[in-house]
């Protein structure tokens, strides 16, 4: 089976302003990231702020162009493809955004918001057919006909996220890039939206990149998870393996920091010292070494390979054998 999406050695540097008119050192948002996604597969991207997870999402959707590396969508190289050549990819890969308040045009009705994508991609001909399709989509996400003529401000956060999902699904995409789709929602609403996304993903056989800082949500929805730190993949593995048996020291620290809703939970917390290094001057060798409890001098020398330690389980740590 060919991968639906293949990302190879992706790099994205953002220029920064230096002193006077000179350019500063580039901000290295993504530094050599590779992964692939099969049709119908969900890949979770987790990491903290500055890990590059959202930049990767934008690159894959071609909302941004990489500095180096390649992106293949269904075998087609879209890395630098001009807008005109992106046509079908623009339809086949759709975003779902974090902020259901900022990502819907306040002056458009729900019908207009969802129908816009159908119009742009000429997916459905005729006004009546278009309305039927919009209603069908709204019903798919738990809304209905009586919501058609309403405006975004008349909805709660959870309902707005449902509208965002309906809009993304309007043109029958094959890949969804969902960037923190539940983090802005109330706790009691998050589970509804996670259930909806997982249900639709399975029913429609969608491939998905699910970007989140919430490891429990990612474990629930993703088949495989990639853990990012300072623009690099530290570990990538099937979701269960990475949560139950993390092999990279960063993944271990990240998991141990998640507060559990149980006052009797026994946890061995690995508290990371210090702050995230500057992405303008990342450490040499392993980027995590400055905060890693297991770092040795050799860690500063070479960038560790993302090596396979078990079937489908890769980790970028030269000390993987002792952990």
């Amino acid at each position: 089976m060919t991968a639906l999406l293949e990302v190879d050695g992706l790099v994205r540097h953002f220029p920064t302003a230096g002193r006077w008119l000179r350019a500063g050192p580039p901000l290295r948002a993504v530094s050599g990231v590779s992964f692939s996604i099969e049709p119908g597969e969900v890949l979770g991207l987790v990491g903290e702020s500055g890990s590059g997870k959202s930049t990767i999402g934008n690159l894959v959707l071609r909302l941004d162009e990489p500095t180096a590396g390649r992106i293949l969508f269904d075998g087609q190289d879209i890395t630098h493809a001009p807008e005109a050549a992106l046509g079908s990819v623009r339809r086949r890969a759709q975003p779902i955004f974090q902020d259901p308040f900022g990502s819907l045009d306040p002056r458009m009705t729900v019908e207009q918001i969802v129908a816009e994508a159908l119009l742009i991609h000429r997916a459905v001909q005729g006004k009546a057919a278009r309305r039927d399709r919009v209603v069908e989509l709204l019903e798919m996400v738990g809304l209905g006909t009586d919501h058609l003529q309403r405006f975004p401000h008349q909805f709660s956060g959870g309902q707005r996220q449902r509208i965002g999902i309906a809009r993304a699904l309007a043109v029958k995409p094959e890949l969804i890039v969902a960037d923190e789709p539940v983090s802005a929602l109330d706790v009691s609403i998050q589970a509804q939206i996670v259930n909806l996304l997982r249900d639709l993903q399975r029913r429609l056989g969608l491939a998905m990149i699910f970007i989140s800082h919430d490891l429990a949500v990612v474990e629930y929805i993703a088949d495989r998870v990639a853990v990012l730190y300072l623009g690099r993949i530290m570990e990538i593995a099937p979701a269960r393996d990475i949560i139950r048996a993390p092999k990279h020291p960063y993944t271990q620290a990240l998991l141990s920091a998640v507060p559990e809703p149980d006052p009797d939970a026994k946890r061995r917390r690995i508290v990371l010292q210090g702050d995230l290094p500057s992405p303008m001057a990342p450490p040499s060798g392993c980027v995590f070494r400055t905060r890693c409890p297991y770092a040795i001098p050799a860690c500063a020398e070479t960038v560790p390979d993302l090596g396979e330690i078990a079937p489908g389980h890769r980790t970028a740590c030269i000390r993987a054998d002792i952990l």
Binding site: E48, G157, S188, A191, D199, H213, L215, L254, P259, P263
Partner: protein, 337 residues
């Protein structure tokens, strides 16, 4: 036994707008003692943040006003003050000196055009008769105490030059520089990454023990609550719906809303093949259209037309310092009425 540090009785805060008056906080009562952490859990519109603003005397007036109740605070000089009725001058003297507050977004509490050091010095000198030099020494000591690396250099940094975690520490340093007896923390870790959140929670715990402060910690995250709370107060649509010691709230949950929240939090190691997450249906209620009867009834799986829709249930004592606002809690718990 002496009076507790803070005793809130039947606090009501109303907001008046074009659509009429709504009660953002509709009768909340609790106490906090020195060395104790009370966590207020709630979602948007629950009234948790308005409660904290009322304690600080920071409810914007108009449109808001404290419509009833008492906020009895035991001041350092031994007097007990009712903050619900205190004048602006009294509140100003207490804020920062005896009651301090930290926020979710440190940039909203820090002034971007002054260095961290200048801002701590200003706070200290506002409340204590210290000279510039002594106040700066105090600021440095605070930063060191809060685990800010390289404090000699960071004291002269501007807020934008610091990471989110360091900014949060700088704000905490400012808040605690006069050694308050009560700290109100409104979602102080929500905007932070989990590894930084863990550092800040550890820090707040340590500082609380060292200063023996009372802490009111507001969060929507039950994981954070489990970790830091001595007691928990759950709010929904402006009302307290359940309150008790942390372990009781987690182990003998009585209010269906609390139970729903606990069930719906995704946890690490869940079996996703076991089915969908147990979500609470419906939406968080709009305060202007608070459901009649029990405010949670439209979303409750235990709802009965009677008594749930008839009237607002009372806050009942179900033993062991455990309060619940649910007319059916006995039935649901399988206890005799």
């Amino acid at each position: 036994m002496s009076a507790p540090l803070l005793q809130v009785r039947d606090l009501r805060v109303d907001f008046t707008g074009e659509a009429g008056t709504v009660s953002a906080v509709a009768g909340v009562s609790f106490t906090v003692d020195r060395g104790e952490t009370l966590v207020i859990v709630g979602e948007s519109g629950s009234g948790k943040s308005v409660t904290s603003l009322a304690l600080m005397g920071l409810v914007p007036q108009p449109p808001g006003r404290i419509a009833g109740g008492e906020i009895l605070f035991r001041a350092r000089d031994g007097r007990t003050l009712d903050l619900a009725r205190a004048d602006a001058r009294t509140m100003q003297q207490l804020r920062g000196a005896e009651i301090a507050m930290i926020f979710q977004e440190p940039m909203s509490a820090l002034n971007p055009v002054y260095t961290i050091g200048e801002q701590i010095v200003e706070t200290v000198r506002l409340h204590e008769p210290l000279g510039r030099r002594a106040a700066r020494a105090r600021a440095l000591e605070m930063l060191e105490w809060l685990g800010v690396p390289d404090p000699q250099r960071r004291i002269d940094a501007y807020p934008h030059e610091l990471s989110g975690g360091l900014r949060q520490r700088a704000m905490i340093a400012m808040a605690l520089s006069c050694r308050p007896s009560l700290l109100i923390a409104d979602e102080p870790t929500t905007a932070l990454d989990v590894t930084v959140q863990a550092q800040i929670l550890d820090l707040i715990r340590r500082l609380q023990a060292e200063l023996s402060m009372g802490v009111i910690f507001i969060t929507h995250n039950l994981g954070v609550a489990a970790e830091i709370a001595d007691r928990i107060l759950v709010m929904y649509a402006g009302q307290m719906v359940e309150a008790g010691p942390t372990r009781t709230i987690f182990r003998q949950t009585r209010m269906p809303y609390t139970q729903g929240l606990l069930n719906s939090v995704p946890r690490l190691g869940m079996d996703r093949d076991a089915g969908p997450l147990p979500a609470i249906p419906g939406n968080v209620p709009n305060l202007a259209a608070r459901p009649a009867g029990c405010a949670f009834h439209p979303r409750c799986r235990h709802v009965r037309p009677q008594p749930c829709l008839d009237r607002v249930p009372d806050l009942e004592d179900c033993g062991d310092d455990h309060l619940v606002r649910c007319a059916r809690w006995r039935e649901i718990a399988g206890e005799p009425a």
